[in-house]
């Protein structure tokens, strides 16, 4: 048990390092938008989704209607539906209670690290839960700290803004194990860029992932069929 906990914590550091400056800057914006520290804490605890929190802070500041804020939040975070589905294969028969707790911490970052670690082995649901909560704690602390002292921190110190991008690049490289997967990644990149330029909001993540995974699956099945036809 202690081992699972330690593994989870030591895998979480790039996420925590990346969350800290983002959380601080969200806190600064929230403070400028008139949010109190407890309100920032309430948002980070109840919502825990970086991108949508930035949007919500801006919308609250601009006096948007609650309905508009909630529906935007829903759209922005709908991509987790895909991540939750992909993770489900690693939790066969696990209790609903555990999954309900684990799902709370599902973010782009925790998804990427947990998925990679599950595939590499030496990783179980307790390590994954630890990682989620380490990231969550960092997020709550850094956003609230941002409300108090964000303006004192110099922006961009030591390239820390690149921590999450660097982590995503590395995790992507770890995934590239077959020609089909590489093709899927390239299709996703092309679709994502086009969808990012043409579609509003962050629909590009869902659109590109669904198209690329579907194309990858079709390609895989076609190649398999041809393989059996040749034999």
């Amino acid at each position: 048990m202690a081992n699972n906990f330690r593994r989870g914590l030591s895998a979480a550091w790039p996420i925590c390092l990346g969350y800290f400056p983002i959380g601080l800057s969200l806190g600064v914006l929230a403070q400028k938008g008139g949010l109190a520290p407890w309100q920032m804490a309430a948002m980070s605890i109840l919502v825990f989704a970086g991108g949508s929190q930035f949007i919500a802070v801006a919308m609250i500041g601009a006096g948007a209607s609650p309905l508009a804020i909630v529906s935007t939040t829903f759209m922005v975070n709908l991509r987790h539906l895909l991540m939750s589905s992909a993770l489900s294969v690693h939790f066969p028969g696990v209790s609903r209670r555990f999954l309900s707790l684990f799902a709370y911490g599902l973010t782009d970052e925790s998804f990427a690290v947990n998925m990679t670690r599950f595939n590499q082995g030496e990783w179980n649901r307790y390590s994954a839960l630890t990682l989620n909560h380490a990231a969550n704690t960092t997020w709550i602390v850094s956003t609230v700290a941002g409300v108090y002292l964000g303006q004192l921190v110099p922006p961009g110190a030591a390239g820390v803004d690149y921590a999450l991008t660097g982590m995503f690049i590395c995790l992507l490289v770890f995934q590239l194990r077959s020609a089909i997967v590489v093709t899927t990644a390239l299709i996703a990149a092309a679709c994502s860029l086009l969808a990012y330029l043409w579609l509003p909001g962050n629909a590009y993540v869902i659109v590109a992932s669904v198209i690329a995974a579907t194309a990858g699956l079709i390609l895989k099945r076609l190649l398999r069929k041809r393989g059996t036809a040749c034999e």
Binding site: A42, I69, M83, F91, L99, L193, T214, L217
Partner: protein
């Protein structure tokens, strides 16, 4: 906005964020998935990772425009090489940060 309204708004935002995170895990983990769907899900992580990174590297955000001259893209080259060569997450994140920092200073 009153404190009560603010909390209600946060609860509603929390609910619409939480449900898509939770429902597939709870529903799908208790049943055998059809083979094609399992294979499709296997391709989702790589597709999502690639879709998440690409605009960061190849597009400005406001307004959204294609570009090949972002520091993020330049810094991605040593980061990518490090990931391929060392297969180390820690090393890659550090090389990425240092490259981004250094290239940012030069620009």
């Amino acid at each position: 906005m009153s404190n009560r309204d603010f909390l209600l708004l946060m609860l509603a935002m929390g609910a619409v964020t939480y449900l898509p995170r939770m429902l597939p895990l709870v529903v799908l983990s208790r049943r055998a998935l059809p083979a094609w769907f399992a294979e499709w899900l296997e391709l989702i992580p790589v597709a999502i990772l690639s879709a998440l990174i690409t605009p960061t590297l190849f597009a400005h955000s406001d307004p959204r425009l294609f570009t090949l001259s972002k520091v993020e893209l330049l810094a991605a080259i040593p980061t990518l090489l490090c990931a391929l060569k060392t297969r180390s997450l820690a090393g890659t994140v550090i090389i990425g940060m240092l490259s981004y920092w250094g290239l940012g200073l030069m620009k």
